[in-house]
């Protein structure tokens, strides 16, 4: 097991390098660049010379392998460089939005788990009876409804019923928890519903599978109370695939909320990504994509570690 984990850990690096190369090349395939957009975008005539000077300042005139080497050597020192559009460090630009995206991701995860575990278990226990059908329809609906549309409906509902909109300005949780929550609970709900649907379905099928195992029958034959069988024998073993799904979805929430952020007018990582791409902000796009991929790979790894912790059979293999 230890060897496997070490191997998994080491494999993270080639994957990240691949992501880095990929995004580096991809972003440079865009027609146009930041200098052209910023200077010529203002309408006036800009001399070719001035643009060339600006490109030199940003290092865009150098050969592509040189630019990549510079970026990599910066990365090795944990320096993501400076945004080509705002001139502020990439880490700063990401940092101020990361908080918001992370908070929504965490809240959505809590909502998802709180819904999925009980609903999925109930559905499995009452398989093919009405509670099961109700839960299944509820969760398939969650998968079918675009979460951004659910967001629109939530906003619409508040506007029509109470003439109220959630606050527009982000306030950190520790500054004003009430204001913070009244802004962020709604996007978390909209995304959490879909997320819970994925997790509910996984919980249901995992519990169903475990309930058919021999050791459950043995436990029943021994006369252990049903509740104990469920909590101690069934749920514990059914959690493995559920943990995987939750881990993967969580990672996607960090960078994948582009549309929901748009609906709720939130200034998060998704919006930052779209802005950075449309502004040809190479350094920012690179840093952002690398971060999202890193979070994803890391949570994959964390899921593996959790597996080992939850299932001793894996640990001792």
């Amino acid at each position: 097991m230890r060897r496997y984990l070490v191997k998994r850990f080491l494999l993270m690096f080639p994957t990240l390098l691949g992501v880095a190369v990929f995004v580096f090349v991809l972003i440079r395939l865009l027609p146009g660049d930041v200098v052209q957009l910023r200077m010529a975008g203002e309408g006036g005539f800009v001399s070719e010379e001035a643009m060339q000077q600006e490109r030199e300042r940003l290092g865009l005139d150098r050969p592509i392998w040189r630019q990549f080497a510079d970026w990599m050597s910066g990365l090795a020192r944990l320096d993501l460089g400076v945004s080509m559009w705002t001139g502020r460090p990439v880490t700063y630009e990401i940092g101020i939005r990361f908080q918001l995206s992370l908070q929504i991701a965490i809240m959505a995860t809590i909502i998802a788990i709180a819904l999925a575990l009980p609903l999925g278990t109930i559905a499995a226990l009452y398989q093919d009876r009405w509670p099961d059908y109700a839960v299944r329809v509820f969760s398939i609906a969650g998968l079918a409804m675009p979460s951004f549309w659910l967001g629109i409906l939530i906003l619409l509902g508040f506007l029509i019923a109470f003439h109220w909109t959630p606050p527009m300005v982000y306030v950190p949780f520790w500054v004003d928890p009430w204001r913070n929550l009244s802004q962020l609970v709604w996007p978390a709900l909209a995304t959490g519903y879909r997320y819970s649907a994925v997790a509910t379905r996984m919980t249901r099928s995992a519990v169903l599978e475990v309930l058919r195992e021999d050791y459950i029958r043995t436990a029943r034959a021994k006369g252990i109370r049903r509740k104990l069988i469920l909590t101690r024998h069934a749920l514990k073993n059914a959690m493995l695939p559920v943990v995987t799904v939750i881990g993967l979805e969580f990672a996607f929430l960090i960078g994948g909320l582009v549309v929901t952020e748009q609906v709720f007018n939130l200034n998060g990582l998704g919006k930052l990504f779209v802005d950075a791409v449309t502004q040809y902000d190479y350094t920012l796009v690179q840093g952002l994509v690398l971060l999202v991929a890193f979070v994803f790979i890391l949570s994959n790894f964390a899921v593996d570690l959790l597996y080992a912790w939850l299932d001793p059979r894996i640990r001792y293999r």
Partner: protein
């Protein structure tokens, strides 16, 4: 289970056995009523899309400036939008866009994944290792981020949106098909084909791919709903299908606040259409998966 899966597949694929095909469909409907309901909705949607000019009460592009923001009523069943265009007609024509993008992206994406995954599993060893690492790279982005990147490079429009959606689907399909291919590679008939001196391409396409069809179909149906959702998201952001093409995601544009007082039906109905379509595809896909391979849960 494997035998049953083969049965279904054979019945569906072999030409000239119409009777058996019908029997398989009937058996599926009896065993999986929810799946059959989903399939029925999908078929109805296809019919609507094909017959759109006949079914739709108005031209989806025709503007009625005397009836802007008209509420749902006898004239316009689902109301009109800010240009006075009939919402119902736009929904009906929008199903063309949704199905075109959904099927186009899923079929091409899943098929490309099928071939890449099967080939990777067939060759194994170093080739497999390299392909897997490349797939890892693609898999470490959220779907929408990769799709946005493709749109940024190619630009917007229906065909480019299909491309943007199918690219992130390839590695996901390849992953699933590869794991089936790994098992098939060890079977005697692949060995036999190799001993006969057949080329790699022939063995992969003629001997392995047909046996990876069950997981392929599962992936394909799972993608259909996702592709429609993704198209709606991209179009909503203004980075997908472009006006005046009727598309459901596009119809949601404009924000809740703008319509709350004047015309709440404008954002409500397109969302319902998207949800219904994805719901139907998911129901069908779920049941198909139960029949073909119940072990395959993570998609």
């Amino acid at each position: 289970m494997a035998i049953r899966a083969l049965e279904v597949e054979e019945a569906a694929v072999t030409p000239g056995h119409v009777g058996r095909g019908v029997a398989a469909v009937l058996r599926f409907a009896r065993r999986k009523p929810l799946g059959a309901a989903g399939a029925t909705v999908v078929i109805l949607m296809m019919l609507t899309a094909v017959l759109a000019p006949v079914v739709a009460p108005y031209d989806p592009l025709e503007t009625h400036y005397d009836a802007m923001f008209a509420p749902p009523g006898a004239q316009h069943w689902l109301g009109t939008d800010s240009f006075g265009r009939d919402v119902l007609s736009r929904l009906i024509f929008g199903s063309r866009t949704a199905l075109l993008v959904g099927f186009g992206a899923s079929v091409i994406g899943a098929t490309a994944g099928l071939i890449i995954g099967t080939a990777s599993g067939y060759f194994g060893g170093r080739t497999d290792m390299v392909v897997q690492r490349i797939l890892d790279v693609f898999l470490s982005f959220p779907l929408i981020v990769l799709a946005l990147a493709v749109v940024a490079i190619l630009g917007t429009g229906t065909l480019k949106v299909i491309l943007a959606i199918l690219v992130p689907m390839i590695p996901r399909a390849a992953r699933v098909c590869r794991s089936s291919a790994l098992a098939i590679r060890e079977t005697p008939y692949v060995d036999a084909a190799r001993t006969c001196g057949y080329g790699h391409v022939r063995i992969i396409l003629r001997h392995m791919v047909p046996n990876v069809i069950p997981p392929y179909l599962i992936v394909l149906t799972a993608f259909l709903g996702q592709a429609i959702l993704l198209e709606a998201s991209l179009s909503y952001l203004g980075l997908g299908v472009q006006e005046p093409t009727p598309a459901w995601g596009l119809m949601l544009q404009g924000g809740a606040a703008e319509y709350a007082e004047s015309a709440p039906w404008i954002p409500v109905f397109p969302g319902l259409a998207i949800s219904l379509a994805v719901f139907a595809f998911n129901l069908f896909g779920d049941s198909l998966r139960d029949v073909l391979d119940p072990k395959l849960r993570t998609l």
